[in-house]
Symmetry: C2
Subunit: 199 residues, 2 copies
């Protein structure tokens, strides 16, 4: 039996701290790396060592970037009049990949969830209000997920921005494209009725 | 849009080379690491950089180890008369965790699969024959998976060892404990009939 604290066990234990990786799947990764070209482990190791040094938060929008301001905030061709507010930095990437939006982003860094200790002051809401005041913003698009926390946070921000005169919108919620009425939950169906569009 | 060759993309691309990790799940890991304590990325990076230096193959059984011979081959309390033959190094760990076997191991490093270019001479079969000749082996337990390749390899080794006079056994194949006849494939069911035991 291998001793409990050898390199294989240590690497497996580290991998199993990542989301979605249990003990078994982590073990599979470790043995895969062992049997792969050592250059792979070296490349992955070096990226990880440099990772937090090379990535910081954009001081304007709060997304992760290697340069500050980030490429989106620094791009003069983007529309300053629209800010899309998202929960997490990775949501920026998802929306960018849809090529649907050419304005600016604002990353909240979470959603209001008092039971988990996340209150409005823990999020980048003050920074959003300052941007709405100081930049020539005409529309704030609230793109948080359609969950209880997402809706609560959207409602909270909507109240704060009401007096600013800016347009506040929320991403439409309804049936996913290619979805099936039969397999749609009641809440989604109800939202798709309330948000129905005229043809 | 972030430039395509930044640290986030590079780390995501490296993770997505691992088995079971696609582009989406790799992205999730990368952002998890970004938001986690930087000490985590550092620890994982350092383990990976040192990994291939600290782990080698045991010159006797072929499993991965930090010391040569490995702790199992070097343990004088284990039974020299039994060798359990497995496909891969990680199988040693699985069998050790069952605490069912107190003999020695031998890792083949694969299974015979001519279509994939794996022939007997690519496996550690010669080393197994030498061990059977030189160590006081009385039983060779063939513990390859019950697949076509596993059965082929077992048959091949059985023929080579026939003249040596050693006992050759194969792990029983049949219904998994807690399994259901209804969901058992025909081949497994057929094997469980042929291997039925008297009560």
């Amino acid at each position: 039996m291998e001793s409990p604290h050898n390199a294989i066990d240590r690497l497996q234990a580290l991998f199993s701290k990542l989301p979605g990786l249990g003990k078994k799947s982590s073990g599979r990764l470790v043995y895969h790396i062992l049997e792969a070209d050592p250059a792979y482990a070296r490349a992955l190791g070096e990226e990880l060592l440099a990772f937090h040094r090379s990535i910081k938060r954009c001081s304007r929008c709060g997304s992760f970037t290697e340069s500050d301001p980030c490429p989106i905030c620094g791009d003069p061709s983007r529309d300053n009049s629209e800010i899309c507010v998202v929960e997490r930095a990775q949501d920026v990437r998802v929306i960018e990949e849809s090529r649907e939006f050419r304005g600016r982003f604002h990353v909240l860094g979470g959603l209001i969830a008092p039971l988990e200790g996340v209150n409005p002051e823990n999020l980048r809401i003050g920074e959003l209000l300052a941007r709405v005041r100081n930049e020539e913003v005409r529309e704030v698009i609230l793109a948080m997920n359609p969950t209880v926390e997402g809706d609560t946070t959207a409602l909270y921000i909507q109240k704060l921005l009401k007096s600013s005169g800016v347009n506040i919108t929320r991403l439409a919620s309804g049936l996913p494209v290619g979805g099936d009425l039969e397999y749609t939950d009641r809440l989604t169906l109800s939202r798709s009725f309330r948000g129905r569009t005229k043809l």
